[in-house]
Symmetry: C2
Subunit: 336 residues, 2 copies
């Protein structure tokens, strides 16, 4: 009998996630059945969509059931296996549980390559779900062309930092929107964005007028709310909006939709498309290969914000909704 | 010296088009310069976008200047030509003026084929600008697949009647929305739509629930307002919305945008794209050829609502905004 630790959804949050919405405890790891394996989680990925899964609002996969283990992106190593082709010590990543050990049949998980010279946190924080989110959202939906202006909100976050760098690789002029000087300096100086707007200390509309006087071709949208509205107003003819997230509304207790811009969508012939990374699951090998190449060439850097200790996950996740993370937010569950 | 009659924009309408916003009169036809020809207009096409052109709101081409001839879709025959390759008697169609004779260098006009056995009004009312609007909006943006459910608003209008029939050709289940029993009967019985909703006498939401219990894959949107909202709420996962028009708002004096549905666009991964027919100008030969083929096979029928007399154009155009037309609205300027 092995003990494991796990976070379960105790009740659905109302507004911000509160103490007691998630419950942490020890329990007995179930026995392995034929076709299953156990995975010791190294890193747990905390992502804005976690708050959606905790709710029962309309969403893109079933919400986490009350009483069930909290769902999360994970990477880890196989401990024991009763599944053909899966061997102890192998590295897997994908959708799992907020737990230190989990039993799985492998659904939602795939092999994560071991990359010489690149720490596991960085590989997972780039090639995990954030990577294909950025890759397919920008390339398939955003359709960037050299010389175009790309705006990315939540620019120093897990997805945003990758979107901006792929935009640069594609020859775009990239403007990031982030909160605070440190994040803005990071995306410009370390990641090579052309400019950044500090939404906590600048008038976003005025800054866009200055930095993108001809308007915006692509708005990679993750935030919603008043920042989204300022970017929308400045979309150019035939502009594209990959709609990746609306984090500003996830904790809202009353609807906070930005207004409709239907007439503008018509007159400027804008394209808007909502997407979820799993829509592109059949093509993850393509994104993984491309991004791994860019990492090896030094064109794709990512910063991880690593919080130690599974027991701290429920506190750490709140930082996503207040801008308290800087880079891809991970919990180190087991030392790598 | 030849006299012509023309409608000029006297002042920009506020709200509904009023008497005196457009002024009708006789004037001397200018002399032909080298590279120009004169066209005797047979039919003037009246289209919802006419109201946009009269305003100075944000729009997709320059508004008609106050004092300038009103812009409109026309077809007609060449009278005199000083342009190489253009000969008297030839048939042209495209963007022109609300006039009985116009002088042009041919910009915005192209040859309209003479189709044996098909009256000119029907050829123009199908292959004029309404045809490619329906064709590219539905096929390129809507991406219809067999068995999918297509909803088309303004179903008995110039574009709507074509959209629905192309949808049937593509194997979709087609639901039209139109005002009144006669229009609803027409799209089902004559055009072969699967069903129609009479928005003047039925609860559109309840009718959609009954006719499309699994939801809507494609909403070909021309109307906006509360009808659009009812369709939006019922969009299926991965649904597409070709945004062709928002006629319910064109006469509004205060903004009447439908609300934003950003969270739903994200969660259901909807695609929305605004378009104007001229965006596809380079491919008009493709749409013309396909639609001509369907017309010859009897798969594409259109109804024209023909009003005689150029002097009645300013009265007739108002019917577009009250649902007073039944079929493609044309003014017969000169007997064909």
């Amino acid at each position: 009998m092995t003990e494991r630790h796990v976070w379960r959804l105790a009740k659905r949050p109302v507004g911000d996630i509160a103490d007691g919405d998630l419950a942490y405890g020890a329990e007995t790891l179930p026995d392995l059945h034929e076709g299953q394996f156990s995975l010791r989680v190294t890193y747990l990925s905390l992502d804005p969509t976690n708050r959606i899964w905790m709710s029962d609002q309309e969403q893109y996969m079933p919400p986490v059931g009350v009483g069930a283990p909290m769902r999360g992106g994970v990477c880890g190593r196989v401990v024991e296996s009763r599944k053909a082709g899966v061997n102890p010590g192998e590295l897997y990543a994908g959708l799992g549980e907020w737990a230190d050990i989990m039993v799985t049949d492998g659904t939602g998980l795939s092999r994560l390559p071991e990359i010489p010279g690149i720490p596991l946190a960085e590989a997972f924080g780039t090639l995990g779900l954030v990577g294909p989110t950025a890759y397919f959202g920008l390339l398939d939906i955003g359709q960037p062309k050299p010389g175009e202006t790309l705006v990315v909100s939540a620019a120093a976050g897990g997805v945003g930092q990758i979107v901006g760098q792929i935009g640069k690789i594609m020859g775009c002029r990239v403007i990031g929107i982030a909160g605070g000087k440190a994040k803005c300096d990071y995306v410009v100086e370390t990641l090579g964005f052309d400019a950044a707007i500090d939404y906590k200390n600048e008038d976003v509309g005025a800054a866009l007028d200055r930095l993108a006087p001809d308007g915006v071709d692509i708005n990679f949208e993750q935030v919603g709310g008043p920042i989204m509205v300022e970017v929308l107003k400045r979309m150019k003819l035939f502009g594209r909006i990959p709609l990746c997230g609306m984090i500003s509304s996830y904790n809202a207790t009353t609807p906070t939709e930005p207004p409709g811009f239907w007439t503008m969508i018509l007159m400027r012939r804008l394209s808007i498309r909502g997407f979820i990374v799993t829509d592109f699951a059949a093509r993850f090998a393509e994104s993984g290969q491309a991004m791994l190449g860019w990492m090896m060439e030094g064109k794709l850097k990512t910063r991880q914000d690593i919080r130690p200790g599974l027991e701290n996950a429920a506190t750490a996740v709140k930082d996503l909704y207040s801008g308290g993370n800087f880079g891809k937010l991970l919990v180190e569950v087991t030392p790598p």
